[in-house]
Symmetry: C2
Subunit: 361 residues, 2 copies
Amino acid sequence: MAEPTPAPGTLIEDLETPVVTVDLDVMAGNIRKMQAYCDEHGLKFRPHVKTHKIPKIAAMQLEAGARGITCQKLGEAEIFAEAGCDDIFIPYNLLGAPKLKRLMALTHLARMSVAADSATTVQGLSDAAAAAGREVSVLIECDTGAGRTGVQTPEQALELARLIDRSPGLRFGGLMVFPTQPESTPAFLEATLGLLAKAGLEAETVSGGGTPQTWRTHEVPQLTEHRAGTYVYNDTNTMAAGTATLAECAMRVQMTVASHPTEDRAILDGGSKTLSADRLLWRDPFYGTVVEYPDAAIYAYSEEHANVDLSRCTSKPVVGERVTVIPNHCCTVSNLHNHILGVREGRVETVWPVAARGLVR
Amino acid sequence: MAEPTPAPGTLIEDLETPVVTVDLDVMAGNIRKMQAYCDEHGLKFRPHVKTHKIPKIAAMQLEAGARGITCQKLGEAEIFAEAGCDDIFIPYNLLGAPKLKRLMALTHLARMSVAADSATTVQGLSDAAAAAGREVSVLIECDTGAGRTGVQTPEQALELARLIDRSPGLRFGGLMVFPTQPESTPAFLEATLGLLAKAGLEAETVSGGGTPQTWRTHEVPQLTEHRAGTYVYNDTNTMAAGTATLAECAMRVQMTVASHPTEDRAILDGGSKTLSADRLLWRDPFYGTVVEYPDAAIYAYSEEHANVDLSRCTSKPVVGERVTVIPNHCCTVSNLHNHILGVREGRVETVWPVAARGLVR
């Protein structure tokens, strides 16, 4: 007894809540705007499909001019390769025999490139590629200030590039960073590219990424490619970063006020299992924007409840009233839902299964 | 091309990561211990299936002595009613025609009870039940200090009980609280039960809930029933609350060190899409326990990365090494995975689809 999906033509206000809608016109505008920016600045654009996990949306992004896609896990790459995407970058250290076997199988469907930041990762990739008689392009991940993965110095990058270059089955594909940081990324990349050039190694691709930094990507002249995912839907985080406006937020979660126990507190009918518990990066601790009540603050979550502070609202919603929430982070919301409803002019036009949801390996 | 599930008999250390395992012996012990506590104190036990969302585990809980189950959403209740659970409580304000229609359909499969904290909710339930010629039991949710849903005073509870009692299609089922708070809950319940008795209204059930408070439930003498979900798997939160030991944590996430970019930082191969972004309630901001490296601290997440601080560790893991993580909150982890692997003595014994995952309405 799976939950029914609504028929095309259903009005948004008639949908049972909570439910995730994506405005198709807004999304199309987001796709056009990003591609135009990359075209203007001579950047190859490689959208990150982890945001939507829906092959039909990737097809729209490619149709608009994107060259290849980015997947964060093999499970995503397998879905999108089967759907016809033939140029896939996985910016991740893939380790262990089962994953490397899957990667080699994917090379028969698509041009595969991956990232590495250690000799261990490179060695595993080379062993698998050589054994399978395949070739994989490997980009070196550089930590240019974000403090997550990546080599820490240009010298380490050079050393790893030399290892990749001499490893059977591998091709040195260039450099990648996440996120692009206009303040610190250029110096790291310039120094690294200088060392590589002296060693006779060419970085075919220098790939940066991240939606919040999108419109400053051209300030990093070394980049040849941009990766972004969130831009396709946008969310409260990209609004808070100044990267998107409310009108550019295509993803909305339709919700209902389930309870209004005090004058200043309302409870919406979904929590961390509907909206995710991802926090707002720039203005903690709010958990999403309530469109109809912009002075309302979602200040806490439990699994199926969102607690809303109404103390700054002049008018307040009543029990049973519907509201529209723009979540903090659209990528983790997609990942919680089996279906996303594409809407246009207030009505459901299409129902998309979130095809790569739940493929965590 | 869905991700393959491992064959029974596979060793845990041969599983591709990240993957969620549940130790069947540990889980069975957790089920026995909880039931024994409730039996000892004369409490009816009604496990909350939102934690596991797997009908086979509900069957084990019922077999051990539980009387009925708790579901948080209609989507869960539909799955469990179809699987044969015939006594289901949904502690939630159900609103709107589509949901009320589904609730009435469920009354043909199971004895249904729900919660309400407003006249709006009661009116909707009554209209739907009367129109369908069905009867539903309604418990009044009382906010005894948690600050989420629930009536705020015993007088409000009495008023709502009178409304339920005179509403066609409804039966006044009693009171419920979440979570049980041994300090503040008894006074609220005593006052409310006093008012109800004077008005000639009997609270058949007085239901409390929450795993962290479990072993103090008997300190609230008014309760006739206990609800808990997390106890079946346990997690870092229940350990931090002192409710469970490490040995009682049945759910473990098998992970791999994907990167080790600095001496003191390692990155595991899953983040908020694998472990959820739920925070630790008592000792922010850590995001899970690394069993093999108890001095390691998961201090940040992104979607597919967990950042681990190793500065307090005397020995440190290497890239490619496998580690076992006990997540902060097992309920939101279940909700991210299509399958859970039941393991015993280090080997996979069963593969359970998380049947009610993703049913957000």
